[in-house]
Symmetry: C2
Subunit: 390 residues, 2 copies
DNA sequence: CTGAAAGCGCTAACAT
DNA sequence: ATGTTAGCGCTTTCAG
């Protein structure tokens, strides 16, 4: 059917003979990976058909499909993603925006979380033919990457975060991990967050239960009484005095946590004690200051994240406070990771799973399927160990 | 054959006037982001000139350069990286290969390190106009990504790692974090590693010094005596008995550590005690088994990484061993991160810095500049705290 | 159901 | 010094 070689080699236009062109092709194929045209030629079809087959895009006879596929496989054909991207306008790359350049404390606190998000997103993305790129952002919200991103995952943005605003302005699909305000309509945006409003009351009630149980002499490995009822017995020996150890960032996670804590205190008739880390203050300093109040004034503390929890346990050790006898600790974080603090009660968070969920949501969005916001329940994991040597 | 088909060869060049081309261009600009041709038209030059100016590639009069730049800026022109990649054959994307799918224990142990590598590499890469993509790999060494990678960073490969082999077979530039064997010549490969052979003796000598100093009654906050000289005083009260707590992976870091430990023991005339974690054994179990020997048989332990260190401290707590009185602990890891164990001596490792270094090395390699292997010295950070409540 | 044609945005090699 | 030309590898109308 095609008397001489199909494809580009007779493109040269001007004056080239076919033989000449063919040899040029040869010399390419040594260096270049096998392209769609090689496959097409070998299978006796046109490049268009090959493309069509490889993209599952519909109409080809079973025989042709089979042949193309097997030839492609034999030749080791891998569609060049750059060509695809150029032609289709979609790169199948998802950026995870990371704001590494903030303060040292911020880095120490949030970077581990970020990194797990990236890990989870990377795995999930690859399962759908997407890739993850870690994209730092500048202070003014510009995403620094040369990659053409189809969509973006932004972790814990602050209200009116410049990164988010820029993405929306550019029409990029965005998944927010942690929630975002102000809500913008018409934007391709989904949010994935932990249900702090449910988790915080749960853990605080749990701590209270434990406190009361211990006051009654049982060492406190029973749990499960309904939390709300414990309140009337609290005054017995020492009143329950739970604090919140939180941070200076105004992202949704932090503000939601603080609000949930405040309203729980109000509901239970307790006075809130909130320690907010200063902007460049070492967590350990803040923890020392907080716990210096002593076990009479403060006998439980919920920590915003694991960094603060580490600081709290370290400060407790310095001050000779036994956990949980003198001080109960709870924290939102990964209960089952190796470095977890087994004396603390956890509101379990799985950042790797969150990353995967973010990626999945974003991909759904990109492929035009309807996506809902996600609100992940936070599961309570009671403390699994008590202080030794106490 | 080409004359009968007026097909593609009358494409742009031959017969079209510039005006015609320009008007066609216009219709594009409505939908697409501003392209090189818009800028060219607006600045009254050719696309080639614009490209040339934006790529700092040499020859353009100052006036033209100025004009092109300002027009480009005004129009918000951003060169499309896909076009650049397609044309140049280089994507400016670096993959960090991650093998997430291994065992749970492995994940817990190595993932944090991986993630820091990604973070450091991402920052560094962006400063050089590159991007980082997290690329999972399958068991047989296939890198799962749709992105065309210019080069790859592989973290802690095992000997003959299929990922590394495949990359070399494909002619990809590779940076090995942690070292690789067998060495392959002719491959574009660089390795970046910590100088374990220097670090291990340093920390072991340090532990010994501390041991001796404590035996002599000084609580041991002095350090700096030459390590080698301490040996002759060791038999006094209790002999110094340092163990190595290591893992089942056969990467260079692990084998180098084990070798350094063994030869140090030999040199100092001590009997080596090596605990190697089983393939799917929880670190805490292994730590319990090791420390169960009691303080007479074993009074110091060097841990391969921070996961093992956590396990060792937890096991020590369970067994009522005071740190460092009954058991000294040392570990290779990030001494200054928030979660660090202050009772342990650290051989300091900064994985974020390593990631940056890997990226920088790879970029040098990609840009054809000569690159040397890096051997990072490991700095000793003595324990900063002793057990409270002991 | 298949193929030919027309580029996506950019740049290297040649013209001018 | 600047412009022209010819594609990089692929997909996507549009004809057959």
């Amino acid at each position: 059917m095609k008397q001489d070689r199909p494809g580009k080699q007779d493109r040269p236009g001007k004056a080239k003979g076919p033989a000449e062109a063919a040899s040029k092709r040869q010399s390419f194929s040594k260096k270049t990976a096998v392209g769609i045209r090689e496959v097409a030629a070998a299978a006796g079809v046109s490049p268009a058909t090959v493309s069509q087959v490889f993209n599952h895009k519909g109409e080809a006879s079973a025989a042709t499909r089979e042949r193309v596929l097997s030839v492609g496989d034999r030749l080791g054909y891998r569609p060049n993603p750059v060509g695809q991207a150029l032609r289709s306008g979609r790169s199948r790359v998802i950026g995870v925006v990371v704001s590494y350049r903030e303060s040292a404390v911020w880095q120490q606190t949030y970077m581990p979380y970020y990194q797990s998000i990236i890990a989870g997103a990377a795995i999930e993305a690859v399962d759908h033919g997407y890739s993850i790129s870690a994209a730092p952002s500048t202070e003014d919200g510009e995403i620094e990457t040369r990659l053409p991103l189809d969509g973006v995952i932004v972790v814990d943005p602050i209200p009116n975060d410049p990164v988010v605003e820029q993405c929306m302005a550019r029409g990029l699909a965005v998944v927010i991990d942690g929630g975002y305000s102000p809500a913008t309509d018409g934007a391709r945006m989904v949010s994935v967050r932990a249900d702090v409003a449910q988790g915080i009351p749960t853990v605080l009630d749990h701590l209270w239960d434990q406190h009361v149980a211990r006051a009654h002499g049982n060492a406190g490995n029973k749990q499960g009484e309904s939390g709300g009822e414990a309140s009337d017995q609290s005054g017995e020996n020492r009143p329950f005095r739970p604090a919140l150890f939180t941070g200076p960032r105004l992202d949704s996670y932090t503000t939601d946590t603080t609000n949930a804590y405040q309203s729980w205190c109000e509901m239970r008739g307790l006075e809130p004690i909130v320690a907010t880390l200063g902007h460049d203050q070492p967590p350990l300093d803040a923890a020392r200051a907080l716990l210096a109040r002593g076990p009479r004034e403060l006998n439980a503390v919920h920590c915003l994240n694991e960094t603060y929890c580490s600081a709290a346990t370290a400060a407790a050790a310095e001050l000779g406070l036994a956990i949980p006898t003198d001080l109960q600790i709870s924290v939102a974080g990964s209960a089952y990771s190796v470095g977890s603090e087994e004396r603390a009660a956890y509101l379990n968070l799985d950042p790797v799973a969150s990353g995967a969920l973010c990626a999945r949501s974003l991909i759904e969005l990109l492929e035009g399927r309807p996506v809902e916001d996600h609100l992940e329940p936070m599961v309570l994991v009671p403390a699994r160990r008590v202080d030794f040597g106490a």
